[in-house]
Symmetry: D2
Subunit: 293 residues, 4 copies
């Protein structure tokens, strides 16, 4: 694998470990972040600090991992810098953004001769650090082929979801609704069995050893059983963001989503009680609170 010049915009909780893994692979990284501290940490490991976002675009490939539509729009579009990026640039957008904006971005790049790959990820910061992310990639096959060796350094598996970038965002939202809904269900059933004097751990032990193996029921189940929601792997506030995006994308297609609506209300209940920075598992506390327990 050839060493590449890679721009990297957005060194948040997820972006930083991803960037570190690209750096470890031997690439030349040009990093930019709104606040300086994270960029400085990367520099100490060998990255170049890009003085401005446009400097990160003067590469073969640029990764972006920003918080939301608004950040991407502000840094890359409204600033005009993406419009002036060199033809042929491959933009790998790992940010979780709305489906509507993903569609807009795909068109924006295409008109300007830029390759756009949507590559949102499944996994928490610890998975990012361990290069164990699941990457959902969609966009022009040739572009994905070119960056696949990079994706292989930051994730354990890349799921290729076709040529339409927004499809990767759709799958990401679907996966996170599945996740949040599983957690809400654990919360509700744990409170339910407790109300009848049964230890929630008894229920969890049964199902995680039979119908529901795997990390979600086990990990979130344990936090709910222990009523312990810190440290937060996936914050309730961030999960709510994804639920909102799914509801909006469903709304665009006239799709009733009653479960997602319940998730939204329960997560808002958490936020209303200052629990937005707790782990998503805090839904366990929301369920108990409503039941007066």
């Amino acid at each position: 694998m050839l060493m590449m010049d890679i721009g990297f915009i957005g060194l948040g909780r997820m972006g930083e470990p991803v960037a570190v893994n690209l750096l470890k692979a031997g690439h030349r990284l040009h990093v930019w972040n709104r606040s300086h501290a994270a960029a400085q940490r990367l520099a100490e490991q060998g990255a170049q600090i890009a003085p401005a976002p446009e400097d990160a675009l003067k590469c073969e490939v640029v990764f972006s991992m920003l918080a939301d539509d608004r950040s991407i729009r502000s840094v890359l579009i409204d600033s005009g810098i993406l419009a002036q990026a060199p033809k042929g640039l491959v933009h790998v957008n790992m940010s979780t953004i709305s489906v509507a904006f993903a569609e807009e971005l795909a068109g924006y790049h295409e008109q300007r001769g830029l390759a756009y790959v949507a590559a949102p990820v499944l996994g928490r910061p610890d998975a990012a650090a361990a290069a164990k992310l699941s990457i959902l990639a969609a966009g022009p096959a040739s572009a994905i082929d070119r960056i696949q060796p990079l994706l292989d350094r930051v994730g354990q598996k890349t799921w290729r979801l076709g040529e339409i970038p927004a499809h990767a965002n759709v799958v990401k939202l679907g996966a996170n609704i599945l996740l949040a809904s599983a957690v809400e269900t654990i919360a509700e059933t744990a409170a339910f069995v407790s109300s009848h004097g049964v230890a929630a751990s008894d229920l969890l032990e049964v199902v995680t050893n039979s119908t529901f193996p795997g990390p979600v029921y086990q990990g979130y189940g344990r936090m709910i059983v222990e009523d312990r929601y810190e440290p937060a792997g996936f914050k309730a506030g961030l999960a709510l963001k994804d639920v909102r995006l799914a509801l909006a994308a469903g709304d665009d297609r006239a799709m009733p989503m009653p479960l997602a609506s319940v998730l939204r209300d329960s997560l808002l209940d958490a936020l209303a009680h200052q629990e937005g920075d707790k782990d998503l598992a805090v839904l366990g506390r929301v369920a108990r609170r409503r039941a007066g327990r």
Copy 2:
């Protein structure tokens, strides 16, 4: 293991294969069923047909696996026969019944010197036939100890949930809410991604190979992806029965259960469209129908 005389009441889709497994283990079975055909099939494999339910009670142990509270109450209580069963009888009730009735039954047995073990199961008829059920057992430890060898012949694992029989029923309902909720979530997210032009199988492939391994997401996911709901392993109508029981048990403890309420409404939607005998996975069709797809 000593050969025992075992009564068996209720040879429905689940009861019959359980009884067959006890028979295969070499026990003397005295079977009773409301309709004769199933009893006849057992007789052909060596069971005795009990002329009346009370004849099945004249054993060391009697299993019951009837449809609901009403059946149990009618056959065993209102008939007066359980009140006259020999002291020391162990009644193993595998029926899915309400928590309130489970509590009533426990008291009823105790007053009459009978041992009552609640032993509802997780698993479909094919799991029952293969002796792969998960058994949730609660009741007097000595009684469970005595019948454990029997349970070992009909299930792959017995979860012991303490001395209070109703606790087993509570866990059973909790487990089935987890199941139905997972299926509803798959249904909703599958319809969601489809509405954006993404194959539901793409979503399912991602999550069953990462966050959600195990039989539920795989098996029900496949049925929903294929829009195929027969043969029915777990009928929508039976799942609704369990959701109702959970809601009632939650209601008894002033427990709001918004997800269970969504499940109830979606399952009623299925019933209203003559889909009650389809597999629970038919929730996939309900979600698509609401979205006009």
Copy 3:
């Protein structure tokens, strides 16, 4: 109007004022109540105390106004006394009971040559005292004709809903779902506008003077605006009872009822916080609590 001998069973918060109004009309009342105090109060106003429920049945007409299915079943059916009531007796059942039980009762009376009129009422105890109840009556026309003069003394209007008694119960439940849903909506919108710094009274003033005149939006609105839920005209716990009955009756017809499910969960939330004896308007507090306000 001729003076009649009237039995009256059940002198609770609603039954007592209804009985008083019949007494004031000059009829001979034979009252029975589980606890003696209320019967004693009636006796002081001229009623006869029936030593046992069956004594109240030895009349031309008997009114019953008991708490629920269970009470009616226990006092009148399981006791065997209704089966021995004189042919020709008109039983006017004002109790709020399940639709299924209403159907069972209709058949029970018919088989025994008794006339059964379902006559549940709309209105709080103060309306009962003022003889301003709305009476929903269904049953044999000739029987209703006969008791109409009595109904005219306890209500301001009788709605005749046909020959099938259960239909009156169905309409009663429908009306109470409309009521509880209006209150829940006021609760939710009041919390909503408050969260944006708008006085809930501003919203209520607008709508009660335009789109939503009438006692419900005004009366419940005021309680919610004032966050004052006592004295309780219609207790949250009793409203929940009606919501449960409606859900059960809907379930019998495979009717999804998502709003009723929300009502159920919010009322359970109230109960879980020891607010079941507060007025139904306490849903206003539930909405605010979930929003952390």
Copy 4:
């Protein structure tokens, strides 16, 4: 009252009749509309056609009644014309917009020395034509005082909701949630009683003559009873727009809104079945469809 020069931007189903009423009052109207036909109709009644939106701003007062945030932003803000409007202009915005945008607009005007009055209305196009709208007005008292004579010509009553313009939008959304929720409840209970063989008209007759007088229960009730959803006074698609705005405004304040979520899903169900242009009462059909009726 002095005759004024009034700009009017947006001559849709609601805007046109409002503009006509201002014209009838003798004012000089300068109208602009994206499509020409409506402006032409106004011109035939004596209005001036403004060649461009900015021409409508060169007045003492300008009314705007556009479809949504996007239209207002595009026509007035992004175009830059509002920034150049004459100091002292009073902008009366009757459009139904998001609360967040209402707050943004208030700040935008204030910075530029323009007076901003939010004046969303309650009422259908026929009420607008009859000058019977309910107007919800908020903004600087002096500005509202100045335009009050104008408001009096287009509405039957102006509710003054304080100095913060967004508060009028909040109340508007609250009122429309109350409306949509009442209609959904009628839909659900009508389907419920029908499923038990009771005519929905029986239920409606009872409640509109007792607990729920007024136009909503009567008018929408009749449409649902008759299963007739055209002509559409208030389209389902427009009601959904308001529900979305309320949910978004609630979300901003961490406000769970379970009823509004149910409304959203039911309205999406309508849209998914090509019923978005039917009257809001089409929720009656949605409820029946889910129940297979």
